[in-house]
Symmetry: D2
Subunit: 387 residues, 4 copies
Amino acid sequence: MIKVVILGQGMGASHFSVGVERIKVGEVEAYGVPLANYNLKYPISELEIVASYDVDENKIGKTIYRVAKELIGDYIPIPKTLEKIEVRRGIHLNSLSGMPVKACGLEESSSLSKAIDEILEEWKELKPDVILNTITTEYARPFRDVSELEEAIAEEKTSLLTATQVYAYIAYLYSREVKPIAFINAIPVPVANDPAFLNLCEKSGLVIFGDDCATGATPFTADLIEHMRERNRRVKHVLQLNIGGNTDFLALTDENRNKAKETTKSSVVEDILGYHVPTYIKPTGYLPPLGDKKFVSLHLEYVSFNGVVDEIVVNMRVNDSPALAGLLVDLARLGKIAVDSKVCGTVYEVNAFYMKKPGPPGSKAISKIVAFQRLLEWLKSIEGVKL
Amino acid sequence: MIKVVILGQGMGASHFSVGVERIKVGEVEAYGVPLANYNLKYPISELEIVASYDVDENKIGKTIYRVAKELIGDYIPIPKTLEKIEVRRGIHLNSLSGMPVKACGLEESSSLSKAIDEILEEWKELKPDVILNTITTEYARPFRDVSELEEAIAEEKTSLLTATQVYAYIAYLYSREVKPIAFINAIPVPVANDPAFLNLCEKSGLVIFGDDCATGATPFTADLIEHMRERNRRVKHVLQLNIGGNTDFLALTDENRNKAKETTKSSVVEDILGYHVPTYIKPTGYLPPLGDKKFVSLHLEYVSFNGVVDEIVVNMRVNDSPALAGLLVDLARLGKIAVDSKVCGTVYEVNAFYMKKPGPPGSKAISKIVAFQRLLEWLKSIEGVKL
Amino acid sequence: MIKVVILGQGMGASHFSVGVERIKVGEVEAYGVPLANYNLKYPISELEIVASYDVDENKIGKTIYRVAKELIGDYIPIPKTLEKIEVRRGIHLNSLSGMPVKACGLEESSSLSKAIDEILEEWKELKPDVILNTITTEYARPFRDVSELEEAIAEEKTSLLTATQVYAYIAYLYSREVKPIAFINAIPVPVANDPAFLNLCEKSGLVIFGDDCATGATPFTADLIEHMRERNRRVKHVLQLNIGGNTDFLALTDENRNKAKETTKSSVVEDILGYHVPTYIKPTGYLPPLGDKKFVSLHLEYVSFNGVVDEIVVNMRVNDSPALAGLLVDLARLGKIAVDSKVCGTVYEVNAFYMKKPGPPGSKAISKIVAFQRLLEWLKSIEGVKL
Amino acid sequence: MIKVVILGQGMGASHFSVGVERIKVGEVEAYGVPLANYNLKYPISELEIVASYDVDENKIGKTIYRVAKELIGDYIPIPKTLEKIEVRRGIHLNSLSGMPVKACGLEESSSLSKAIDEILEEWKELKPDVILNTITTEYARPFRDVSELEEAIAEEKTSLLTATQVYAYIAYLYSREVKPIAFINAIPVPVANDPAFLNLCEKSGLVIFGDDCATGATPFTADLIEHMRERNRRVKHVLQLNIGGNTDFLALTDENRNKAKETTKSSVVEDILGYHVPTYIKPTGYLPPLGDKKFVSLHLEYVSFNGVVDEIVVNMRVNDSPALAGLLVDLARLGKIAVDSKVCGTVYEVNAFYMKKPGPPGSKAISKIVAFQRLLEWLKSIEGVKL
């Protein structure tokens, strides 16, 4: 069994919760799970959600079943088995500020250190193997230095801290005091890209995968760019417009959050091609009727042989949250495998495929098809994992 | 120097001829040549066209310069250096039947065996290293058996033979009598996929690359499909419409030629995914104003996590002939490298990347990004080739 | 009440039958019905289906409810009220030849003249006001001359006749013997464009609307072309690719049927622009997984001010049969209004908006937006119709 | 002759200047000029540019020839006849603030009232018939009241004033003191939509056409929406993303300017459909390599008959400035015709077709195809204009 704690019971986490249960009983195939057909040590059926945290007053105290019913129940049947888990109150630190949501975190009624203690105690009881962080995108700076991070926490400098960073710190405390676990950071806050957190991994055996799960159009763009590179086509520009109607897009109408996202996307094209290309790649807007099925428009021009210019336009309608959920199904399992294998820190071979901004810091983005080959090789190299 | 003989002085061959000369003098970058930035034993400047064959009365006797001027001179400057080579009369065997072209082959004024002798004698004088076959798409069946092929030639059973097959046979004769060379088959006639020709390779040291150069939308589709496979997305259908205004599209309005093309494209999706997917992938129509810059529309639906359905539409405007020419620049050089390395027969690692229907017979199509990795590995393994 | 007889109980007729019943009880809005918000003399609730004819053995004898259940029941709820009408055996005349359907017409077990008599007798009992012809596209030539048409029927020259023409002839007989009715020809067989049938109208008061209901991409293209014309943009080419998975697309894989379709589409662009434009507009292919929701790709280039060239690409996913059904709801009502108003023959103002090949013969296609204005004016001019 | 003064010698004005000269000598056809084929009182050859104003130090003092050479000379031949006119210094009022341009207006070296006097004096000498305002988009509020406008000018309240408003005021002064002329406002500043300016028209005979010339995707969207309305399709949302690389898009990265643009676009959909539709229609971003040929992506979903949902995606590559120039060719001629006909104020029938935000205030947007019919009727109704 892989015991999973969810942070942020939004649409992505709901699709994860629901999809895993439906796969277990054979109600749906494991489509959208990259390694579903590879014989990993832990099959999908081993995943067991043991707790979920959120700060939205409208979710706290409800079962995952009920939250999922409200968020995705109009088009997906919700399994009754999700009635067992109630959403707990977690860390807020203003991660939802500006959103049309009544939010309150544990730390707001007492203090940050008490909130940390409380969650740590809960985890000591729950005995999780993996923490999945899927809270709403926040804007954060890396600490780089452990002492600065610990000082910020100790002195409750809440303006420097985000919920993600505090959760990752609790995962470190837990790893040190109880047993190493894996922290999967699906959002753009720098964790796998923050030397401070990688330092904490070394001290505790904590495994971190991150940052920013590679759903949506950016992995597609990466492979398209690789396709150009391998033909030595000179890319003149890349334009990728994204517009959606889910909470994530609403959150990204906030300039600061958007900036967090843009940073993780901007380097991909240049990393792969090795030269500067003018790009416009970012979440573009929020249009509620699109719901979770966002609209993507991608435009690209390149110079081919003999100086001629070709043009490609791609339009997509993509369900954002299930795509994330499918990756989380692998990441939770790979996290446990990494912990079992005494990996500590982060694993580039995992991040390069699953993440938009793969840690450790300084890593280059590579195309996803190439990254997939390296992921498989890494898996083969880990003792006990046969493919 | 790599001495190159061209078969079929159409738009693709004209772009090849012109582009190579322009690259030599630094007038254009070698964009569209996949291995341009890899340090191959033979740089592009080593390519030297020594002869060109065609059966179009409107081309025979003209210089390559003049033919290129007429075909692509309105948007590409044509180098004067191409005035040295005159287009010679080649084998026809009805390869242009039904096309709005006055065509006559060497064999029509005398006999097939005399035509073969004549060309063989010319090659003995020209001393080519590589034969590039870019004649108009023909419909042909593989011979499978050398004796049947030789019987068809001996008895002048012209209805069983195509120009491509006869040219490849001359390349065999030359390889056996003079020195091994490479025959690059850029069109869908089965040569690298015909056991008869691979058999002739063994007897003579001939190298064959083929069949059907992977330009246009099909390589893109292959990589898109690999992108799906690596996420375990269930592809519901693939639809790829191609419409263009060049001679190739005009030729493909002929049902039989179209069929030749469809066969090389149809298996790609299934080969990569490993399950049956309904597809509609074929040259769709001919619309003259599009010229060489064809229009492609690709549509694909897939099932993602939790059973949701996503959708991708791709539209391209792609210059067909320069794309082919860029690949030929590599293939000519790889052909010489293979000959130098005493490879005889065909090389899957080359074909898998450059061809739509990679030989030898029975080979599976793989995605182009994966094929590119294998191509690089093959190159590394060949003595004298450092990357 | 407007009593309606349906010819051809396929997807279009099923959507018509189902949609009208659902609108009557307020289950869906009358979206897709152009004149739904105009105060016509006959509201939609006045439509009453009194009979349906088909030649598919798998439909004959079943209720419309059951047929609709099988054809569209997986995504549309089918009203029980449709259990009252059973599909009757109609005229075949090979209209389904080549289709994967076991078909048999009334005339096959006896003779054509007996079949005509039988249906005429049924209609004399049913007292229809409107006949909706939605049978599968056939290839037919206009008769031009009444005597030739009557001779073909009298002498049972079945190779010259199609089911549509015979049905229209029965409508004439009925109009002459009982009372004028309206025959709505939703398919490309020339009826409103055949002088022979318009001649029969004069003799009997019959009203004919036709030919080929303007669903799908062609009306859109017409308005797009008008948009170009009104800016004096010079259209360089128009390319419209259609691919679908319903019976209609399967039928159009037959060259002859496709030709019937192409003819009605080809003239639109030229009629509107007044100069020749190279076009490629036709049903392109059949891909079953697309079902009734076809994929359309449209490409257009034009010269704008100062000689610059612009480009437009349109991609659509459109449900074909409901679009047709929405038009039929108006056409049935307009047919009755025309009969009430003693119109006899055809009405260009109706056809120009609702049809791809508007009769009478020699009529020009105009853009749909312009046609809509003329339709409204015609309606205003008819006594008793206030908008 | 129609004597034209240009305000803002940017890409649009350069295409206008160049295109008119090229049309005069038969070098290009008058494509992109809506009424080119209608027999207006003034043919295009009557247009004569007599002066041009700008505030960009890099343009002032140069000939139109030179400015055009720099802006569009790489792809359009520039006629020598444009060497006669030098760009003069005009009103700035911060209209270029924030742009990467060294700008200085007449009013900056003296005072606003002196600047107004100076330009008025120049016009008294030049005797223009039409003023074309094509300066960079500014953000402005309507004055509504003449006295407030005049007070702002008298007291040099420059923070309340924009260059457009001051230019329009000079046009009023000129009309009152010399003879009525036409002021064509091609940008989103409210002039034809400001009661204050329409009031000034009554006092002076000034004609104003405006506001915001309907180039680009919005007129297309209007006609697409009309296409939906006439089929009673329920539009679920409209999404229109625009990204370009010209100065206009650079200017619109400024939030305030963008807001000016959004306001003129937002109401179109609702005006035509008569119900609220969620929309996202605005300039989206700036990507220099796109140059003047912007990329547009439009997405629209609607409910059709029987509740089914269809989807349309449109992608365009459109040259922005020539499209504007083509409209200006008509607007200048229509302006003169209106003045000749003693129209004073604005003309809805002209604005509805040529403008995004047609004045007078309170006017509704209608589809362009319908507007074109009304434009033709208006033209017919004007004495002396036969079509």
